[in-house]
Subunit: 314 residues, 2 copies
């Protein structure tokens, strides 16, 4: 990866869960440019030869490895770590699974499913799903964060105010992310790289894929930041919005139920119109469809909408 | 309005609330092309001479007038009404208010506020807010729906599965909307037109503005539709996404609280960076910023993000 990185953090230097007691793999000065080799969220469990039977043997104690942690000299609680995300070098192999018990419609999709992807590492050619669906690519890191102040080991699954498993689709190349620092040195780690995902990550997985990430770490002293925030240098949906969207809605007093209703409506629509099995439509929605809150003020009913890009079937 | 409409429904033919007992103003065949004159959501209460004192005298029984209802011959419960939204003819005057007790952060913004807009009716020039903010325009109808089957009068404020006050930003020209029909003739009405709004309509109002809407009504017999859905013919954010976004997040176990946290973070950010009063930043967020659900699967914490288009201050 021709990024001019000062250091490479190799994939062997990964950890599971967040714990400020984990020894840093490296100390760097603010301004350091680093290259992180990231394992995929299943830690290499799936290969091009995998079958759906392999979903059942996923080990829960080795999910979402993150590469790091890196100690940033001078970082103190109250600062913000400024992460400039520069480039991704994707591996070209990925997987998407329906994992029983996990995902927004886990109750409706109890059986495991697995889709394996071979995709263009340059990202110029959408990735084929089934016979007709073409998913535009936009690599990003699903898990990116710093260590929480609370002692002990914390599950990697939930994101927190210090970041972590944010699964924000737009933390792509060019984006600048600010994370609240809670411990000395910040203790930055990254992993769970995705080749594509929609807002929501509705089935629980994206195009999960090992890749290398180049980024720069800086400090903003005493930033007073309460939650992660980021800046994108340009549009975030132009890789897939050209043909417009099919949109389903969920109208009601609970945003979570509204999201479930909107998603279920889209699965039904695209399964019927494009001859997909419902679980395949569910996984396809997860890698390219977006959950948006259309209105949140007309009490007692809110509107959550699910946007599916028509370019996928164009 | 040169739309080739078969009929015009004048603004005097409006009603307040939904009630299947309201007599139709017109009967039309499927395929009819109609032009609806829509009053603004305050029924003409605000004028270019209004001041913030006029917010206190808003009458609660004359909000959100809708023009109609139109009886579509042959429409029966179980059908879908297909509404092809063809064109808007905006009035050029609009208002945005913080109305005490209404809006996502009503507890934090108890005092009334009012912003009056003069905007380009052709929509080519963004509308100025304060000294520096320029809001791109995209007219749409906030309230669009058909009569519910349940007898009696129903408040216009909450949207329902038959549509109504959906406040969906992308119900703009070119969009095709499908609404579940619950009563004979469907009884279609439309109003609450907006010159611009972000996803969420977070302060409770958009650029509220009277305008005329041209549309076509068709039927899909026995469509089996459970909630409104729509199709957009092209991208939905290119009028404002060119310079990218500032994004704040709310991470936690409740989507509503996450939305409040993300919005409060954005208000603080743009108020500080651009010298706006917080209530002005709140109203500005409402007319151009978007609430998105970034992830909804990493239990127990979800991520709601607020996207503010940087083009507004570019």
């Amino acid at each position: 990866m021709c990024t001019g990185a000062d250091h490479t953090i190799h994939r062997a230097r990964h950890h599971f869960g967040w714990d400020k007691a984990i020894a840093p793999v490296m100390h760097v000065e603010p301004g350091a440019r680093l290259s992180f080799e990231c394992l995929d969220a299943a830690c290499g469990h799936f290969t091009p030869q995998s079958t759906v039977a392999d979903v059942a043997t996923l080990a829960s104690d080795t999910i979402n490895p993150v590469t790091g942690p890196v100690f940033v000299d001078g970082a103190e609680p109250g600062d913000a770590l400024k992460v400039t995300i520069e480039a991704f070098e994707p591996s070209g192999f990925g997987w998407t699974a329906n994992i029983p018990g996990f995902g927004l419609l886990a109750d409706q999709f109890p059986d495991p499913a697995l889709h394996l992807w071979r995709y263009d590492v340059a990202g110029r050619v959408p990735a084929l799903f089934g016979a007709n669906a073409r998913v535009p690519l936009k690599p990003f890191a699903g898990t990116i964060g710093v260590a929480p102040a609370a002692p002990g080991r914390h599950s990697v699954v939930p994101p927190r105010r210090v970041g972590g498993n944010l699964d924000i689709r737009d933390l792509a190349a060019g984006t600048t992310l600010y994370l609240p620092v809670e411990v000395a040195g910040a203790l930055f780690s990254i992993g769970d790289t995705h080749a594509a995902q929609g807002d929501g990550e509705v089935c629980g997985t994206a195009i999960e894929s090992a890749m290398t990430v180049a980024l720069k770490l800086d400090l903003v002293k005493q930033a007073g930041l309460s939650m992660p925030r980021f800046t994108t240098p340009g549009p975030v949906t132009r890789h897939l919005d050209g043909a417009g969207y099919e949109v389903t809605t969920g109208v009601g007093p609970d945003l979570q139920e509204g999201a479930r209703t909107a998603l279920a409506g889209m699965i039904e629509l695209i399964a019927r119109e494009h001859g997909l099995a419902p679980v395949d439509a569910y996984m396809l929605c997860s890698v390219c469809g977006d959950l948006r809150i259309s209105e949140i003020v007309d009490a007692p009913n809110w509107v959550v909408s699910f946007y599916f890009p028509r370019a996928v079937f164009a």
